[in-house]
């Protein structure tokens, strides 16, 4: 079982290493297939691990395995340790499974790019890092995986490095995440000095003896990392910009896997959050705010990928809401179904973008259904799943989070209302996108690209490497939610109970009430979208220009951070250089050397050539030294 975990982890690393070292001795296509193979081998390892866990009794479903000691000092020791338990196994399956499909899709999507080898090396490296994150057996290795996914994300967002915007977006993503890494590291310092260990079990045990201040700091530090990685408010501004990367990257990193790591972290470290309930409530509250704000901003975006990116933020807001209330199973369940339908949406969008030779502006699209009927169906399934229409996957998972909110008292009621408003917004922005892109008469751009493609690729909508993963994910987006049906069965949540016991147990009635409201509002949202964007063929929401302006500027968060951090840093650096470094540090010594030259001249005169004057000088010096020594002692 643990061998499976190691194979799962190391196969993608081996893939990335092979492609990097082989360089141009292998063809670009070979590199692509090495990468794909490496991720599917990882999926095999994940499956073996999963099956191995199932064979064990519930109490034994956790195994630690250490390769070597990574870092040690005195009593503090951290191993390169993996933890295999149902939570890790679930994440491994999602990461390597969805990851494998997306890398396969990339084989078609990136065909012809002259730096394909680099792309596939990075993709394999990302999958390795993500697997390290979810398999890590202690907090330090988790932070290593955490940092490495950030690095892979930086490399892939900036993959087209000759584009200024891509480079800037990559840097922004990395730096905001570095901030999150730093707050996590601070939390770990508290743990080291208070509990003496960064092992999960040891730290959780030791945490029970910690003061509430220390616990709040630890939880806050972890939450900082989670919020940065999962693009929750207020550390969310990097995610929309990250859409500068290739579309499969957005599907893999910025939808299905990496951005959900914050949710995983909260579930993994849930004992610490439960000891700091106000911080856990904060997590839920931030989730609720994010899901509303991102939903609002998504209403006015005109870039197909940015709409989906805001939708991702919004959906992760639901997950934060869930795990913040202690509904760990529900949060993880939504994480899984979201990975299916959001990857599907990105990849279907990628097919459209690919077909339209890189165009991402929805105002130039329209009537794509005519030329890409299968993509149209896939996108429809993804959209319905996202809005949460039964029996698609999003319905089951989102509603179980809302039910948990309904079962969580007064604070839960507020969050429940926010979640319902979010469902309405989801319906509007999702189907605004869908109607504008797919329905109506084909736009001039679409017509222009309608011919010529049919001959090149088999299906006319993309090569099989792209269409097959989309088909598989379409299927998963439909049936992926059936592993957990309220009032019928819940094997998914039960498996995770061993790792993280849920704090809320909504009743079946609450489940159905939440479902009824959510579906109703989702349908209402679709109706509104229909009224504005399909029935009347209006492309923009009417009036309210000021509000739109604010939304299009993403609530001015970029400007705020610019004013709060970047400009002051530049300003202070400039002040220091002008007023300290150049005149004092750089200049003082210039003055000093001039002074030395003058002193040298004076000393030259002292070199009289008379032996007795030298002897006198030496004697004086010795006398002074002796006096100094005596005085000192």
């Amino acid at each position: 079982m643990t061998q499976g975990a190691w194979i799962c982890l190391l196969a993608p690393l081996a893939g990335a290493w092979t492609i990097t070292v082989m360089g141009d001795t292998i063809s670009r296509r070979t590199a692509a297939w090495i990468s794909t193979l490496s991720v599917f081998v990882a999926f095999g390892g994940a499956l073996a691990t999963f099956v191995g866990l199932l064979r064990r009794s519930e109490e034994e479903r956790a195994a630690l395995t250490t390769a070597w000691t990574w870092l040690s000092t005195g009593n503090f020791e951290v191993g390169l340790t993996l933890l295999v338990d149902p939570l890790a196994a679930t994440m491994m399956l999602i990461v390597s499974g969805v990851g494998g499909l997306i890398v396969l899709y990339s084989v078609g999507y990136m065909d012809g790019d002259d730096e394909e080898r680099r792309y596939f090396a990075y993709m394999s490296f990302f999958v390795f890092s993500m697997l390290l994150l979810v398999q890590a057996g202690n907090f330090l290795i988790l932070l290593v995986g955490w940092g490495l996914v950030g690095l892979a994300s930086y490399l892939l967002i900036g993959f087209w490095h000759e584009r200024r915007e891509a480079v800037a977006a990559a840097k922004k993503a990395f730096i905001m995440n570095a901030f999150g890494d730093a707050t996590m590291a601070l939390a770990f310092f508290v743990l080291i000095w208070q509990t003496g260990t960064l092992e999960f079990a040891g730290a959780f045990e030791g945490a029970e003896l910690m003061s509430s201040t220390a616990l709040n700091l630890v939880a806050l530090g972890l939450l900082g990392g989670a919020v940065a990685k999962s693009a929750q408010i207020p550390l969310h501004t990097w995610l929309p910009d990250a859409m500068e990367g290739p579309t499969p990257v957005s599907a893999l990193i910025h939808a299905a896997t990496m951005v959900t790591a914050g949710v995983y972290l909260i579930v993994r470290a849930h004992p610490l959050f439960e000891l700091a309930p106000s911080i856990q409530d904060l997590a839920a509250g931030l989730g609720a705010i994010t899901l509303l704000v991102a939903g609002l901003v998504a209403l006015v975006q005109t870039d197909i990928k940015r709409v989906i990116a805001y939708s991702t933020m919004s959906q992760i807001g639901y997950m934060f809401l869930g795990v913040g209330l202690g509904a760990y199973g529900s949060g993880m369940f939504h994480l899984m179904t979201h990975a299916f339908f959001k990857a599907l949406l990105f990849m279907a969008a990628g097919l459209v973008i690919h077909h339209l030779a890189g165009e991402q502006d929805i105002r130039r699209m329209g009537g794509v259904r005519r030329v890409m009927p299968r993509t149209y169906l896939a996108f429809l399934v993804g959209s319905l799943a996202l809005v949460g229409i039964p029996p698609l996957s999003g319905f089951f998972s989102k509603d179980s989070i809302l039910a948990a909110a309904l079962a969580s008292g007064g604070y839960g009621a507020i969050l429940f209302v926010a979640g319902l408003l979010g469902a309405l917004l989801t319906g509007i922005y999702t189907f605004r996108l869908f109607f504008v892109v797919f329905l109506g008469e084909p736009s001039p751009l679409v017509k222009q690209h309608a011919q010529g493609h049919d001959s090149g690729h088999g299906s006319g909508e993309g090569p099989w490497t792209m269409t097959v993963p989309v088909a598989v994910l379409t299927l998963l987006a439909i049936i992926g939610g059936w592993v957990q049906i309220a009032g019928v069965w819940h094997p998914f949540g039960d498996r995770l109970e061993v790792v993280a016991e849920s704090l809320v147990e909504p009743s079946v009635v609450q489940d159905y009430v939440a479902s009824a409201f959510a579906v109703g509002l989702g349908l209402l949202g679709m109706g509104i979208a229909w009224a504005f964007y399909a029935a009347r063929r209006r492309r923009e929401l009417p009036r309210a220009a000021a509000a739109r302006n604010v939304l299009e500027h993403k609530l001015y968060f970029d400007e705020l951070y610019d004013a709060l951090f970047y400009r002051p840093a530049v300003w202070i650096a400039g002040i220091w250089r002008r007023w300290i470094e150049e005149p004092l540090i750089g200049g003082s010594i210039t003055g000093l050397s001039l002074g030395a030259r003058r002193a040298g001249g004076a000393l030259g005169e002292a070199q009289s050539g008379y032996l007795r004057s030298y002897a006198l000088a030496i004697a004086t010096a010795v006398a002074v030294l002796v006096v100094v020594f005596v005085a000192v002692q």
């Binding site: 360089g23 141009d24 000691t69 990574w70 870092l71 040690s72 000092t73 005195g74 503090f76 330090l140 290593v144 995986g145 955490w146 940092g147 490495l148 950030g150 690095l151 930086y154 900036g158 490095h161 000759e162 200024r164 480079v167 990559a170 840097k171 990395f174 730096i175 570095a178 901030f179 890494d181 730093a182 707050t183 590291a185 601070l186 770990f188 310092f189 508290v190 080291i192 000095w193 840093a569 530049v570 202070i572 650096a573 220091w576 250089r577 470094e581 004092l584 540090i585 750089g586 003082s588 010594i589 210039t590 000093l592 050397s593 030395a596 030294l625 100094v628 020594f629 000192v632 002692q633």
Partner: protein, 476 residues
């Protein structure tokens, strides 16, 4: 064994000076000697028992009545610093050979002489021996910068000489006072002192050498005007003489003054960290960024040392090795860029990644390790340092963690400015990817960094048992 490690390069220097070989051949000879030194170091590591304290000791009485002896040997931590020295110097000498510097025999001889002197500093267990090697290390540097440096080399050399001389003289005074008062100059035999002035004399020399804020006036000019391989040794290795001195002398021999001055030193180190990071962020060329980031890193290392606990000190040693490798690689890469484009100014660079995969990969990996991405050896070092300093107050750790974000900002800026975006005006189509000789110089450093990233514990576990070593007993 230790003596051989010190005198092999010194004898090699003599050989290179005396043999009338043509330029390249003398370089090849010097490179071979440097590689032999690396092999000798490997043998020393093999013979070393990391469970024990001072080892591989050679001792010859010099002036017995003054208690001066030629006394050399290694602790675990100083063995790693010596290892850093021989590896970085071998790479530097190899690169100098390839770069074909003028007056090659003198140049390579000086580099070998420098190597031997630095190893001597890390091995010295007697204060006068330490002083001799410390000065012997500076003299070749004066000449290397003053003769082979860039346009403003005279200015840079004067600054460097004045600063280091001032520090050295204060240290000499302290050595004499300390030795006479103890009745011995031996670091193992001597006891501890509580004299603040003597402590400050030592501190001055090491603060200049590191450099600590505000004693860094020589830094940027020296790093900018040196030949790139000399800058690599200067920032990667010579700065670590300060680490050795601070730990082996200042902390081990002056427990009381260390306590008294802990906070001011931490303040200076922390200011250096933030100041260096911010100036690196606004610097306009590769060398200046590396220079200021070096200063920031030395601030961080001193923070670790003066946390005065195991986590911080062990982290400081690990980070010294990591930063030595990183900084040397960056300066060598800066030299390689300069031979291609004639400049290291960001405004005239850019777009070098296109069509130059080796250069791009090497610079990217080194840069990413330099910014301490989690999982890298520099991350491990910084994590331990900050975990250590946290015990002295969470504020230090918070500022340190903030500086890591700044490190990400300036290193990513460097990477993008050189490799990414549209092509800079100084970048010509003919500018080649890294040549095999250049790869041969920089890949071993990179391999060492990757190996240590996979297992930083190979150093932290074998540093030295802090509790058992007499160094730490004194520090307690």
């Amino acid at each position: 064994m230790t003596t051989a490690l010190i005198f092999l390069p010194l004898a090699g220097a003599l050989l290179v000076w005396l043999l009338p070989l043509p330029g390249r051949a003398s370089g090849v000879l010097a490179t071979l000697i440097a590689l032999a030194e690396v092999a000798l170091f490997a043998v020393a590591v093999g013979r070393f028992d990391f469970g024990e304290s001072l080892q591989l000791v050679d001792r010859q009485s010099w002036f017995s009545d003054l208690g001066v002896s030629y006394h050399v040997g290694f602790f675990g931590f100083s063995l790693w610093l010596a290892g850093l020295t021989v590896v970085v110097c071998a790479a530097a000498i190899g690169y100098a050979t390839w770069a074909n510097r003028e007056r090659a025999r003198a140049y390579h001889g000086l580099l070998l002489f420098l190597t031997g002197s630095i190893v001597g500093v890390f091995a010295a267990q007697d204060l006068l021996v330490f002083y001799v090697f410390f000065e012997a290390m500076l003299i070749p540097l004066y000449v290397l910068i003053g003769v082979w440096g860039g346009e403003r080399r005279a200015f840079a050399t004067v600054k460097f000489v004045v600063y280091t001389m001032a520090g050295s003289l204060l240290m000499l005074a302290s050595i004499i006072v300390f030795g006479l008062s103890q009745g011995t100059f031996d670091l193992v035999d001597s006891g501890v002192s509580s004299n603040d002035w003597v402590f400050l004399g030592f501190l001055a020399a090491f603060a200049v050498k590191a450099p600590l804020f505000p004693f860094h006036g020589w830094l940027v000019d020296a790093y900018r005007e040196s030949p790139s391989e000399v800058a690599a040794i200067l920032s990667g290795v010579v700065s670590k003489a300060a680490v050795y001195g601070l730990f082996r002398i200042a902390i081990a021999k002056f427990p009381e003054p260390v306590q008294d001055f802990q906070v001011p030193i931490l303040v200076a180190a922390t200011i250096g960290l933030v100041y260096g990071s911010l100036l690196a962020f606004r610097a306009r060329d590769v060398r200046s960024v590396t220079a200021y980031s070096s200063m920031a890193q030395m601030g961080l290392i001193v923070m670790g040392l003066f946390s005065l606990n195991e986590l911080g000190i062990n982290g400081a040693i690990l980070q010294s090795v990591a930063h030595g490798l990183v900084s040397a690689s960056l300066f060598l890469l800066a030299g390689m860029l300069e031979t291609r484009t004639g400049t290291s100014a960001f405004a005239r660079l850019g777009g070098l990644a296109r069509g130059r995969p080796d250069l791009a990969t090497v610079l990217l990996v080194v840069g990413i390790i330099a910014l301490a991405v989690p999982g890298s050896v520099s991350f491990a070092g910084e994590f331990l340092i900050l975990a250590g300093i946290y015990a002295e107050g969470w504020g230090w750790a918070a500022i340190g963690a903030g500086a890591i974000v700044l490190a990400a900002m300036y290193m990513l800026r460097l990477i993008s400015a050189v490799l990414h975006r549209s092509r800079g005006e100084a970048v010509r189509d003919e500018a080649l990817d890294l040549r095999p000789a250049e790869l041969a110089v920089v890949l071993p450093l990179l391999a060492a960094l990757l190996f240590l990233s996979a297992s930083p514990n190979s150093i932290t576990e074998r540093n030295f048992p802090i509790q058992r070593a007499d160094v730490a007993e004194a520090a307690e």
